[in-house]
Assembly symmetry: C2
Homo-oligomer: 160 residues x 2
Amino acid sequence: MSTSGESKIEADPNLPIIRIVREFAGTPEQLFRAHTDPELFARWIGPSSLRTRIEEWDARSGGSWRFVSSRDGEEYAFRGCFHEVRPDRIVQTFTYEGDPDGVALETLWFEDLGNGRTRLRTQSLVDSFEARDAWLRSGMEVGVNEGHAKLEEMLADGTA
Amino acid sequence: MSTSGESKIEADPNLPIIRIVREFAGTPEQLFRAHTDPELFARWIGPSSLRTRIEEWDARSGGSWRFVSSRDGEEYAFRGCFHEVRPDRIVQTFTYEGDPDGVALETLWFEDLGNGRTRLRTQSLVDSFEARDAWLRSGMEVGVNEGHAKLEEMLADGTA
């Protein structure tokens, strides 16, 4: 197992946006599939201590999604709709149901770096700096880093 | 026919957001229906010089929508998904297909003012000030004001 370190997580200085960047040893097609195939997605998303089950998944422009992550009987549910699903970009909404009025607009880009490598860039846009900074303080980096490390392992062992 | 003047359209000084506020002589239920019933919606949305046909319409959380407005053979198409549809609030994505990479996250609130009146507040969030200011320069206020005036007339004559 080889990991390439941490995902880069940054707050925009002037916009209520969080950006995450990480390079993967996989093609854009593999990354796209790992984000749209519900069985693959459930295996890597989120912290290692949680198990995720997909409750709803229609990964096409205009579809919707919902998943529940759980640990020791505690459940965390997330939901949204897919605004656009295309090979180089996914645009979706995102709500943590524990904060039902909060909504983020997320964009994911799969950039082909050649030689079977891809740069994943994601952007989460919310409507206030307070909401953005609450996300940054929530411990989200654990889920991002552990999730991306699992995805890296799946690409390395041929399961993604 | 009585109109109450113009809709208030404002750019946030610190966020890439456009806010629109207008009060209507209708209940929150009437306003909600005028935004979710496709036949009603098509009759008031946009400038008076355009005719709108609904191509896709599933006004529930996780549904999607698309409509086409036309004038003299020119067509303008818009699409998005409904993140959340509930009596006091609609959250949806919005893309003008002439600018297919642009996406706004729109929130509409229906605030009960009593006495059969409702304050409609809308917020459009995009990911840059440039995109926000391009919308402001696009002549959008004509469509907002003329559309809201049509909706006011429909509430006044009992068709909404």
